[in-house]
């Protein structure tokens, strides 16, 4: 039995070597879903709320604001939509695997893109706060010999963020595939010895595959997906806030 673990399916090939894969399409679907959900939540808002919809919308906005300002400080209120977008996109991109679709977060390019955004902002705020000279000087501390290490450390941050999320989501897919295959083999082994037509029927029925993958999916798809989105946002906020602080 062959188990094949691959990346996203390529759906379209455009000029200049641009390809559109499941990753992009599914992310667009997630974005459309979020946009429709938000538009539905916030249509017909009233100063005196009469609908549960509006209460949910206000709750989401306030929670996002508290989440960001609580971790970064009140002056970062403008940053709330970015974190909200990052969190919702990361979370639903992982959760989409519950529908049997390819999760965009198990594509390294996706998480790498977001991590690069974080890295760019970290560096921007470091330079903005300390000046270009101060930033360069900070790389040579505590002693000059440490400079290559420090530069590596700068790149380690986005790299670790990208691989953390990618690894968690992708490994969930891999482990799920492996367990599913193993259970199928076990299923054949257990029911295959049944005589005649009964055995053939039992072999085709995925009896053992019923329970365990669901539990695994609960962990890898739901828990891990939400947790990794949360961690990614937390790290982004903390790194950027500390980069903007004067040393």
């Amino acid at each position: 039995m062959n188990i094949e673990v691959t990346g996203a399916k390529i759906l379209l090939e455009l000029p200049f070597g641009i390809t559109i894969t499941e990753t992009q399409v599914n992310m667009w679907l997630v974005m459309i879903g979020i946009a429709v959900f938000c538009a539905w939540l916030t249509h017909d808002l009233k100063v005196r709320p009469t609908s549960k919809r509006q209460i949910v919308a206000e709750y989401i906005v306030k929670t996002a604001e508290n989440f960001v300002t609580g971790n970064m400080g009140a002056k970062w209120k403008w940053f709330v939509p970015y974190i909200a977008a990052l969190f919702s996109l990361a979370m639903f991109s992982s959760l989409i695997s519950l529908l049997g679709m390819y999760p965009p977060t198990s594509d390294l390019n996706t998480t790498a893109g977001w991590a690069i955004m974080t890295f760019v902002m970290i560096t921007f705020y470091k330079i903005k706060t300390n000046g270009l000279g101060g930033y360069a000087k900070g790389l040579t501390e505590p002693i000059f010999v440490m400079t290559p290490m420090n530069i590596l450390g700068e790149f380690a941050t986005p790299l670790s963020m990208a691989f953390r999320m990618f690894g968690n989501v992708a490994s969930g897919t891999v482990v799920s595939a492996l367990v599913y295959a193993a259970l199928a083999t076990l299923n054949n082994a257990v029911f295959g010895w049944l005589p005649g037509i009964l055995g053939e029927a039992a072999e085709k029925l995925p009896i053992l595959q019923l329970g365990i993958p669901a539990v695994l999916s609960l962990y890898f798809d739901v828990f891990s997906g939400v947790l990794q989105a949360f961690i990614f946002c937390m790290l982004t906020m903390l790194y950027i806030a500390s980069a903007a602080e004067k040393e």
């Binding site: 673990v5 691959t6 990346g7 996203a8 399916k9 390529i10 759906l11 379209l12 090939e13 455009l14 000029p15 070597g17 641009i18 390809t19 894969t21 990753t23 992009q24 992310m27 667009w28 974005m31 979020i34 946009a35 938000c38 538009a39 939540l41 916030t42 808002l45 009233k46 100063v47 005196r48 509006q54 919308a57 206000e58 989401i60 906005v61 709330v80 939509p81 970015y82 909200a84 977008a85 990052l86 919702s88 996109l89 965009p104 594509d107 390294l108 390019n109 996706t110 998480t111 790498a112 893109g113 977001w114 690069i116 955004m117 992708a170």
Partner: protein
């Protein structure tokens, strides 16, 4: 544009896909801003304004009520004083009137008494006069009868009258 088949490797790096991931994230930021944060924040701001407006309105109303209460109290006090004054003046006037009435009555009574006294005096005088006349005539008659001769009425009348009036005093 070719509809393609095949898959990416499990671990692949593609600059376009990285850029698209970043672009998608930024687009979602704009979507969330437009469809979630802007409308909700607008509503929250409006609500805050409405609440602060209601508060200031309530404060204003309270102040107004307070000043109105003060005004009414003043008015009430004024009315009380006015009523007191009114009662006082009325009672004063009543007193004055009654005094006047009494005085008038007294005066009138006095006038009437005087008149009555004068009447009485007049009547007495008249009676006395009449009596005088009658008596003097009687006396003259009597005397003439006694004397047997005519007394010259005219000559003696004065004398007799004098005698009577001195009697009648």
């Amino acid at each position: 544009m070719i509809v393609a088949s095949g898959t990416l490797d499990f671990l692949s790096v593609n600059v376009w896909h990285i850029l698209m991931a970043i672009g998608n994230l930024l687009i979602l930021v704009l979507i969330l801003k437009k469809f979630l944060f802007k409308p909700v924040q607008n509503i929250l701001k409006q609500r805050e304004e409405e609440i602060s407006g209601a508060y200031s309105k309530a404060e204003e109303a309270l102040k107004e009520a307070e000043s109105e209460r003060e005004l009414y109290r003043e008015k009430l006090d004024g009315a009380k004083a006015e009523a007191d004054e009114l009662i006082e003046s009325a009672s004063k006037r009543a007193k004055a009137e009654s005094a006047e009435i009494i005085a008038n009555a007294r005066e009138e009574a006095a006038v009437r008494r005087k008149h009555a006294e004068e009447d009485i005096e007049l009547s007495r005088r008249k009676a006395a006069e009449e009596l005088k006349g009658t008596v003097s005539e009687m006396v003259i008659e009597l005397a003439s009868e006694v004397v047997g001769r005519e007394i010259d009425e005219k000559a003696h009348k004065e004398l007799i009258d004098e005698a009577i009036s001195s009697l009648g005093e």
